[in-house]
Structure formats: C-alpha cells, structure tokens
C-alpha cells in the first residue's frame, strides 16, 4: 500500500479567465472569407461566441493540471457500490482506436461497413449467450436508457394485447435505484413501491396484493442493491406472469452472477446490461456508457430498429422492417465506441474467463464484508454477493460522526469512498463494491483505513467531521451551490 504524502496541486482559473485576445490553439487550412451573401442577415450571428483564446500548450496544461485533481481507478481503490469501478483494460482503448473500426459514416452502404455490423452482431450474440435472452438491442446509451427501452417494450407488448389502458402499475422494491421509478414515470407507468422483507429479500407476500389486471410489470434489481440474490424471484416471476405482468430486471449488478445465472432462464422477460460496469468500459467521469437490453423470445418483435441480422451468404445487414418495433431509442446504433470496448473485454476473457471474473468479484466483496463487519454495523445479515451495505446508525449515535464524514475522511487516504446514502432503506448507507480487480493488499489497506477512521471518531471526531484535509480543496458547500446557482462563467464587467 502506498503511503500518503502531500505534493503540489495547481489550482486553475477557469479556462475563460486564462484566455488572452489574439492567441490561438488550432491548426486549420488557411482562413477564407466566408461566402455569406446568399444568407439572410437574420440567420447570421452578430457576435462571436465567447470562447477561450489560448495556444495549444496553455490548453494542454490547463486540462492536464485539472486532471490531477481527480481520483480515478488508475490511482487507487474506487469501491463505489452499484457502480462496479473495475479496472478498464488498456487493450480496449487501443483496439477502439483502430481507424478501420470507427472512421465510418452511417450513410455508407452496408457492404462497406460489414466489419462494424459483424462486431455488433457478435456482441449481441455474446450477450445473449451470457444472459439467456433470445435477442439484445445495443442501442440504449446507458442503464437508465435501457430501463426506458425495456419498459417501452413491455408497454408495447401490453398494448398489442389490448391492455394498455389498464395495465399501468409497475412494482418497484424500496431498495431500487432512483432511475427505476424515474423510468417508470417516463414510460407513462405508475410506480408502486414494494417494501423489502426483513432479511433484505423481496417477498412474494408483498407482491401478492398487486397481482391484478392493473399490473404491468415488476422491476427487480438482482442481486438487489444490498448485494443480496433475490431468491424469490423465480416464484415472483411466475406469479407476475400469471397475473399478466412482465418482469424487468435491472442488470446493474449482473457482474455478480455473470456466468452463474442466466436471467433469461429464470423468468426475467427483459433486462439491461451496463457495459460500463460489468464489461469494463471506462466510466468517463460520468459516461458515455451503454445499456443494451435483452428480451425473451416473446418480446423480440418490439425491439428497437434496426437490428443486425446475418443472411444466408454470411452477409450482415440492418433489419429495419420490423412493424411491431417500439422504434428507435438512439439516432444511430448506440454508443458504438463503447460497444467495441465491451466486445474486446468479452473476447479477451471468453465465457470461462468471465465466470471467473464473477467469482473473484464476489470473493473480494465477501472478504471485505467479512473484515469490515467486524468494525461496522451491517444491518442485513443475509449473504451477499458482489457488494455489501453498512450503516452509520451506531457510530452516529455514539460519536455524531456520519457516513458522509467517514466518506470525506477516506479521501484523505487516497481512496475513494463507497456509495453513500443509497440504498435508501439503510440509514446512512455505506455501500461497498470492491470489484474483482482489487488486490488483497488493496482490500486490507482499505479496511485498515476505515478502522483508523473509526478510531478517530473516538479520539478526534472533529478531524473526521471536518474532513477532507489533504485534497487541495476542503469540504465543499453544496447548499451554497444550490442557493447561489452559479452555473456558468460570465465575463466580469
């Protein structure tokens, strides 16, 4: 484990503030006088947009310095629960840069992009094999977009059955991610919150009251956001299906069961994958991700258009002639460059390698849980898979220190805190997902740091409450931000 020292961080003004008239950082063909006379004056800009004027070196220094203010996977442990911050292999990036794979225009004829079509076809097949679904659309841009897509497919299926007026309710456990209820509303459905059982499982009993003709679907995260495998899911699925509803699975945690369980085989009708979680594509500071959606045979007709097919001659083509399709969810083929990376990862590991990845992810998480639960309160004692959620109830009562304080203090040790205050059913949740790419030493170091901080909550609680202390900037005032609403730079007059 690396020792923490303190070094120089350069605080940058905004790039607009560095701008100096007359400088330029571009290299373009020679200036020409634009031929604008054919255009009505009303179309033309009267004032140039205010953009930075700087030389290349100044721009590079600005963003290089800014980059040093970020924590990232390549600097250290990043155990954000539910986010699966695993290492992003470098070979993914190298292959995604191959010009012949990406420098393609959607207007090119399908003959000229056979490689790209084959790539998408192959990725779809791999995802089908892993999940047990019969088809997968690659279009959705992220997990939430996948939820929208899956729910739209369910909606369409319901509509085709002539039940659209009635079936509006979507059941969502209280432990679900915020995108679930938000997606339900975006799809014109009505969310119904379902309480998790005392052991963190979804119980068939709590579903039963809703098994009626208004039921559209249930959205289940499996393993759920406590890291617990929903052992009743099969039974619940059966019940939901019998009631005429559908089962949507939020696949954010698919990394816990990949190679172990195929959701398509256990009653799930549709599910999204997060390629930026399970399949190692970089999170990019918040995207782009990709949220492909798998469906069972019965829902195939409703998949977004186009989908990639292969004809008898082995030629790939885009099938747009799908009359029952929900339409498009992306103007083109989704976050294609992300798809490339995911396929590299899948092919590098192979299905046997991916199953091993799952095992190691769970091994790491359970090890961390075993060690951390000696010092932190774990509200659900149930077995977990890829992550574990702790609570600050006890420390808070005893010392006044909250999960947020502990999180901020963790920053001082060069590791990223876990996800905090989610899921909502755990008070002061501290949700740890180490992923399989952390070493035993990293895990032990993380435990040691948490342990040290817990000691501090007794010996020097102020230190924890006022953390971070080593990060270039202190704890930032979020209330002030919301109140003052400074959302862009403006030229000082």
């Amino acid at each position: 484990m690396s020792e923490i020292k303190s070094g120089i961080l350069r605080k940058e003004p905004l790039i607009f503030e560095k701008s100096q008239p007359g400088r330029e950082g571009f290299s373009l063909p020679a200036a020409e006088i634009p031929r604008l006379k054919e255009l009505p004056d009303s179309c033309l800009r009267k004032e140039d947009p205010v953009l930075p004027a700087l030389s290349e070196v100044e721009v590079i220094r600005h963003y290089t310095r800014l980059s040093h203010w970020n924590h990232c996977i390549e600097l250290g442990t990043y155990p954000l629960g539910s986010c699966t911050m695993k290492y992003n292999p470098k070979i993914n990036e190298k292959i995604a840069e191959i010009r012949g794979l990406t420098s393609l225009h959607p207007a090119q004829s399908q003959d000229d992009i056979q490689g790209a079509l084959e790539l998408m076809y192959t990725l779809e097949k791999e995802l089908c094999d892993l999940s047990g679904f019969s088809r997968v659309t690659l279009q959705p841009s992220a997990g939430a977009n996948g939820e929208f897509t899956g729910l739209s497919i369910i909606q369409k299926a319901i509509k085709e059955k002539g039940e659209a007026q009635n079936r509006k309710k979507v059941l969502i456990p209280d432990s679900a991610h915020g995108t679930n209820p938000a997606s339900v509303v975006l799809n014109g459905f009505e969310p119904v919150e379902i309480k998790s059982g005392p052991d963190g499982y979804l119980e068939i009993e709590s579903i039963k009251p809703h098994l009626d003709s208004q039921l559209a679907a249930i959205m289940v995260t499996n393993p759920n956001t406590l890291g617990i495998y929903e052992r009743n899911l099969c039974e619940i699925s059966k019940a939901v299906h019998e009631a005429g509803g559908y089962v949507y699975m939020d696949g954010a945690n698919f990394n816990a069961i990949m190679g172990v369980v195929k959701p398509g085989d256990i009653g799930v009708d549709t599910m999204h994958f997060n390629l930026h979680k399970t399949f190692s594509t970089p999170h990019g500071g918040g995207g782009p991700g990709a949220g492909p959606v798998g469906v069972v045979k019965a829902l195939e007709p409703y998949l977004p258009v186009p989908i990639v097919e292969k004809d008898k001659q082995g030629q790939y083509f885009l099938d747009t002639d799908r009359p029952s399709s929900i339409g498009k969810v992306h103007p083109f083929y989704g976050n294609y460059a992300v798809l490339v990376r995911a396929l590299v990862y899948i092919l590098e590991n192979g299905s046997s390698g991916l199953a091993e990845v799952t095992k190691r992810a769970v091994l790491n998480a359970r090890y961390l849980r075993a060690r951390l639960s000696k010092i932190l309160e774990i509200p659900y004692k149930t077995d977990t898979l890829h992550e574990a959620v702790f609570s600050d109830r006890k420390i808070k009562k005893e010392t006044g220190v909250t999960t947020m304080d502990v999180a901020k203090r963790l920053l001082d040790f060069g590791v990223h805190p876990p996800t905090v205050y989610f899921p909502l059913i755990v008070s002061g949740a501290f949700m740890v997902e180490p992923t399989e790419t952390e070493s035993l030493q990293d895990l032990d170091a993380f435990v040691d740091i948490v342990s040290q901080i817990l000691d501090e909550t007794k010996t020097d609680p102020e230190k924890v409450k006022t953390a971070p202390h080593n990060t270039g900037v202190g704890r930032l005032d979020e209330t002030y931000a919301a109140r003052s609403k400074i959302l862009r730079w403006k030229k000082k007059k």
């Binding site: 991610h177 969310p191 195929k262 969810v329 999180a407």
Partner: protein, 451 residues
C-alpha cells in the same frame, strides 16, 4: 488472468477469513436450480489474437477519404491535442463526480462545458450533457410539458427534423403517453417547415430543426413570435453544434430550449456515436431541466470549487418525481467537445464555419453545372443541401463509394411523406473537405453520366 490479482495463496487466505471452504460456496445463496448447469466454456483470447481478430474486422470495413454526408454525423477534424487529454485515465476512469473534493478536474471541465454551450446558444443555463441530440429533443419536449405543468398536451414537431431524431422522439413520447405529437410538413418549394398561422392553447411547444435535415435554415423568429404569443415553448434542434460559429444563436432568436449534437466536434462521430446532446434553456426553466448540472461553490476556507447541484431535479433524489431518468450521461464526450472548443476559440470555430460554408457552395455550384442535376429547395442553407439527380441515384452513390467518396445521404428512405424524394441526395461538407476533393468528386460524377 491479467486483470485478476488474486493468487491461489490469496484466495485461500480470503476464503479462510470469510469462513467458507470454496469459492463456489460464496454462491450458495443462489437456488441451485437457477444456476447454469452446463457452462459453454469458450476460451479467452490473448492480446495478440485479440488484435488480430479486430484488425480482421476492421479490414472488412471500407474507410472513405472523402465524406460528403452529414445527416447528424459530420466528420470534423479532432485535434491530437484534444484526444490526448480525453485519454488521460484521470478523466476516463473516474465516474460521476459524487465526491467533489477529488473530482474537481471533471467538475471544472463540465462547468466550462456548460459555459460554452450557453455561449453558443446564448441561453443562460446549460446542463452537463444528454445522450444525444435525438433523445435531448425528446427530453426538451417533455420539459416543455412540465413547464406547462402537464396542462398542454400537444407539441408541434417539424417533419423536416432529422428522421433519426424523430424516431427517437416518437418512441419517447409514445411511451410517455400523455403528449400528442402533431407533425408540421415542409413546404416542397422552400424546404422550410410550414408553421401554422396561430397556435392552439393546448400546444406546449413547437420544435424546428435549425438548420433542418435538408440543411435549410428555418424561420426561427417566425416560430418564436408564434410561441411567445401563446406562451408555448420554442425548441430548436441542431445536428451539428459547430454551425453556431456563424449562425445566429437560438437564444438570440427567442428560442426557449436549444438542443444540439456535439459529437461531430468531439471526435466520436464514427458510426454515429457516442454522441453528446447539448441542452440550454432560459434561467427561469432551470428547475425543469433534465440532466446533471454543475455549480460553483466554496469550501470552509472560502476556496472556490465545483459540485453537482440542483440535484432535487434528479432521479437519485426525487425518484419518480425527477425531471428525467438520466443518470450516466456523456461526460467524456462533453470533455472532448470542451477541449476542442478551447483549442479552437471563436476564431477557430468561425474558420471552420467559413471552410464548411465555402466548400459546400463550391460543391453545390459545380454539381448544378452538370446537366440534369437540380436544386430541390429554394430555402437558404449553410453547409448542407439537397439536390436531385438524373438516372439511378443508388448507382451513382455506389460508383462514387468505390472511388472512396461517401456521396451524401439518399433521401429515398424518407420518402413516405413526399414524392419529391425520388433521386434526391442531401450533401454536406466540413473543413476536412478540400477543393481538390470536390474537383475529384465532380470529375467522377461527370464520368458517371458520360459512361
């Protein structure tokens, strides 16, 4: 297993700490019958074979040197300098800046992005990005519905907006259910959308392409006069944010929500994405806006810093009451856009505009000088335009493709609306097109018609 740091020895130690006998036991909470019985044991590939596999795939694609097609995907230059920043792991392997104290790099860059979008659009507030312009347009319409508190249930949407976007919008609004879309046709002479004389009271918003899919510059002011008269929202969607180097900013024309696609300036246009949807609006609508927003703040010592703010609009706080379900957005593409615009400055951006414009006019004029090739619309265009061609247009495009030229987009596939679309192509240019490329193209077109 180069990504798995656990040695046999480590595993033993860990299992002991967990108090289980084997890794398999860790999965005992999963009902046996749900587990895959027979795993297809496909082997992985080593780095050498992986590279060979993907180079083979690449060889099955034909990269073209001269791309005269746009339609939302404009092959702009993307400077090596910008690419080098975007690939820094400090940016690429971080996530959403939930912990601002160790995410100031990402946060400040997004704040700069918001400022740029706001500047380009001349609208006060921009968010941290949407997936792409198509879904952003859908979100804008939903936002208008929210601004009107769900009381106006209809939106007028130009049929001359990119059909790729319209299909996404249609899916979104259909799923949402409470909003009716009325499509506005275009004038077959000008190529401009036919706006109604006046608006019904139940109209929440009107949306135009700016420029539209045919490259025609719509009468945005006419729309905004109309919308403001009935307190509806005026929305524009632009297929390439670059045009705002020279085209009047939507905000200055009275637009309420401007969305645009940024990927063509962000180096990610290949195969059409990842995109980055830009969205800007008036200050008063901030709370109705979807997506993340970064704001400036300070720490206890008064040091300035940046945080995600106004999160009460968002799904992780408001859940079913959120303004959108978006969570992961397109942050790294937004960064690429930001660094590129930082290098360009307004001088670079207007330079690009001048080149786009002048090459487009050259191409336009030289094509029209060929017998039988005709303009389709009279409306003004900037760098994208529609022509009709004699003979078999598919053959012409194929002939040119075989010579390394992507000759526009064949409009036939969107001909469900208007029969004018037999043998018509929408063409466009960027600064990557040189006069010699146009000469080559013209020569080949002539050759095609002579043979």
């Amino acid at each position: 297993m180069r990504y798995l740091p656990q040695s046999e020895f480590d595993i033993k130690k860990m299992l002991k700490e967990i108090r289980v006998g084997s890794i398999e036991e860790l999965f005992s909470s999963i009902p046996k019958e749900e587990k895959i019985s027979e795993v297809k044991l496909e082997e992985g590939r080593d780095e050498l074979h992986l590279c060979r596999f993907f180079h083979n795939l690449a060889a099955k694609n034909k990269v073209k040197d001269i791309i005269l097609a746009g339609g939302g995907v404009y092959p702009h230059n993307f400077p090596a300098a910008a690419a080098s920043i975007v690939s820094r792991p400090e940016f690429a392997t971080a996530y959403t800046p939930y912990q601002p104290e160790v995410s100031q790099g990402t946060l400040q860059a997004i704040f700069e992005f918001q400022t740029m979008v706001s500047e380009l659009m001349q609208l006060e507030v921009a968010n941290a990005s949407m997936y792409d312009a198509g879904s952003a347009l859908g979100e804008a319409l939903l936002m208008a519905y929210r601004v009107k508190r769900g009381k106006r249930k209809k939106v007028l949407v130009s049929k001359a907006i990119s059909p790729d976007y319209l299909q996404v919008v249609k899916t979104m609004l259909q799923s949402f259910g409470d909003i009716e879309i009325e499509y506005l046709p275009w004038d077959s002479k000008t190529g401009k959308t036919i706006l109604p004389q006046s608006l019904d009271k139940n109209i929440a918003a009107v949306a135009l392409g700016y420029p539209n899919y045919f490259g025609v510059i719509e009468d945005i002011s006419r729309m905004t006069t109309l919308t403001s008269s009935k307190k509806a929202l005026a929305i524009t969607v632009s297929q390439d944010a670059a045009v705002f180097g020279m085209l009047e900013a939507p905000g200055n024309l009275g637009v309420d929500i401007a969305v645009a696609e940024g990927m063509s300036l962000a180096g990610t246009w290949g195969m059409g994405g990842p995109g980055v949807g830009l969205m800007a609006t008036r200050k008063k609508y901030t709370k109705k806006m979807p997506g993340r927003i970064v704001g400036q703040t300070k720490d206890e010592d008064g040091n300035s810093g940046y945080v995600l703010t106004l999160a009460t609009r968002e799904q992780h706080i408001r859940r079913e009451k959120a303004t959108s379900n978006i969570c992961t957005n397109q942050a790294l593409v937004a960064l690429a856009f930001t660094v590129h615009l930082s290098l360009l400055g307004s001088r670079g951006l207007t330079r690009i505009n001048a080149l786009m414009r002048n090459r487009a006019l050259e191409l336009y004029e030289e094509l029209l000088a060929i017998k039988g090739i005709k303009p389709v619309f009279t409306g003004p265009f900037f760098n994208e335009f529609v022509l009709s061609f004699p003979g078999n247009t598919e053959k012409l495009r194929k002939f040119l493709a075989d010579h390394g030229i992507v000759f526009g987009i064949y409009l036939k596939k969107y001909s469900d609306v208007d029969s004018v679309f037999d043998n018509t192509i929408v063409l466009s240019t960027t600064e990557l097109i040189e006069t010699q490329d146009i000469k080559k193209t013209i020569k080949l077109v002539k050759q095609f018609y002579q043979d």
